[in-house]
Subunit: 292 residues, 2 copies
């Protein structure tokens, strides 16, 4: 496995792969790799001949007062995990390499999908995500790129960026990987105290209950949302930022539960925000879990 | 020469060219081809094995009340001219092909360079340009793309889009081609009445005079701008939108005339706006004309 740290090295490596007509896959990450990221590498390896994984804590997707400076960073550990998972190239640029002219003046504006839920609470977040993803996709020029389900709104936004800007890449989505008690793996879980870590299982539990309600025939979105919020409220350590059910493409409220629907939750435990979601395809009485 | 009208056809054609390791060049246009465009094709042919020319009157770069609907369109004529100039592929998509989901919700925000001069008068123009250029570059994936000097601010904005988004393309700039009386070729010249057509020569004349002043040693930007405006004012049919001298990279005002400087003029004749510019590199007493 190679570690490359400059855009020039990425382009040089890529030229060789292109001449050999190998399919290149890409897994963008902020590092602090966990089982969720490693499962994305597995998805990517099945779809490509070579896997590039980026490790870049992108400053433009963090807002003022957010955890950019304390976000966990351990490149040595990430390299070991990436190599074991079968990554071919880790691209770990500096901030200066990705933003050589200071803050980027040209940005990708992701539009209305980025103004709700996470985008309402973190107004500059998805512009930063859309911009850095566009840059990384332009640089790595992968045939396929893999994003994790846990950040469902990010998946929806990135899908629209790729679609609207005609970016020549196939997007794949990997399933959320969970601890044995159901908590979704997240690099931010390390911020949790022991009590908060126990309390955090409420996100998945509430989503599973809401999904069960839908399987049992509930078709009124307000009933499901109320039940979801009531379950989240049983955990006094958590403060709910949002808990909603929306249509999975437009992230808009539903009149009835039919088609692809997405349940989104964000809960704060102290200064730590955790996200989780459940995506379902509902056709009449048939309810299937899907990737967002 | 091939005419292709869908993104899928472009991608299929491109795959063949890539496998043959041929260098692809790209000249984006709004059609209504004239000698200026054809000279860009010539620049492109020298730098690439294949030349793709796009003909697309991009609605998102026209503001409300602008000339989108009456912009000159004559694809048959454009095809003849393109073929004679040595174009290999003309890509002439419909608006629906380029914006299949209605107005693009994801856009490229070109930042502060797009808020001055043309951007101040046409607030959505450069966002439309930056977005469609990013899309066309993502689709055609050219090794080299050629833009015309006449739209100097567009060159500066597109250069920054390519730089900030890490788009893997080399930008080339082609010189402004002029009628025998100095008027820059523009698809909008057809809008001019006979009297306006004669009056329009004032743009180039004023720029040449300002350039002569600089060659004769004038180094005070305000003196040059005053002289430029005074010459433009000799033409009663024209209304000056702006006439300014700025630094050629940042489009910011100058304290003294040194380095790469750009003189920008925009003048209205009736409902028709015409642009022209002069780019100079000044080192002490040495003054050279350059491409923006």
């Amino acid at each position: 496995m190679q570690l490359v740290q400059t855009c020039a090295e990425v382009r040089a490596w890529l030229a060789t792969e292109r001449r050999a007509e190998r399919r290149v896959g890409f897994v963008p990450t902020l590092g602090a790799l966990h089982a969720g990221h490693l499962s994305l590498v597995g998805v990517c390896r099945q779809a490509a001949d070579r896997v590039v994984l980026s490790v870049f804590v992108n400053p433009t997707q963090f807002g003022p007062g957010e955890d950019f400076s304390r976000y966990p960073r351990d490149l040595e550990r990430d390299l070991r995990l990436a190599e074991d998972a079968g990554v071919d190239v880790v691209f770990a640029p500096t901030v200066e390499e990705m933003y050589p002219f200071g803050r980027a003046e040209v940005t990708v504006d992701p539009g209305p999908l980025a103004t709700v839920f996470e985008g309402r609470l973190r107004p500059t977040h998805f512009r930063g995500v859309a911009t850095v993803v566009t840059k990384l996709l332009a640089l790595v020029a992968p045939d396929v790129a893999v994003f994790g389900s846990k950040d469902a709104q990010q998946v929806v936004v990135v899908r629209q960026v790729v679609r609207d800007l005609l970016l020549p890449v196939q997007l794949l989505v990997g399933p959320t990987v969970r601890e044995s008690d159901g908590l979704a793996f997240s690099s931010r879980n390390v911020y949790l105290s022991i009590q908060e870590r126990v309390a955090a299982t409420v996100l998945h539990r509430a989503l599973v209950q809401a999904g069960d309600g839908i399987r049992f025939g509930v078709r009124d979105p307000q009933v499901v949302e109320s039940r979801l919020r009531a379950e989240l409220a049983t955990e006094p350590l958590g403060t709910v930022d949002y808990a909603a059910m929306v249509d999975a493409e437009r992230l808009e409220p539903l009149l009835t539960i039919e088609g692809r629907v997405l349940l989104l939750v964000a809960v704060r435990f102290g200064a730590t925000r955790l996200l989780d979601n459940l995506c379902l395809r509902v056709h009449g009485s048939d309810v299937q879990e899907e990737l967002p």
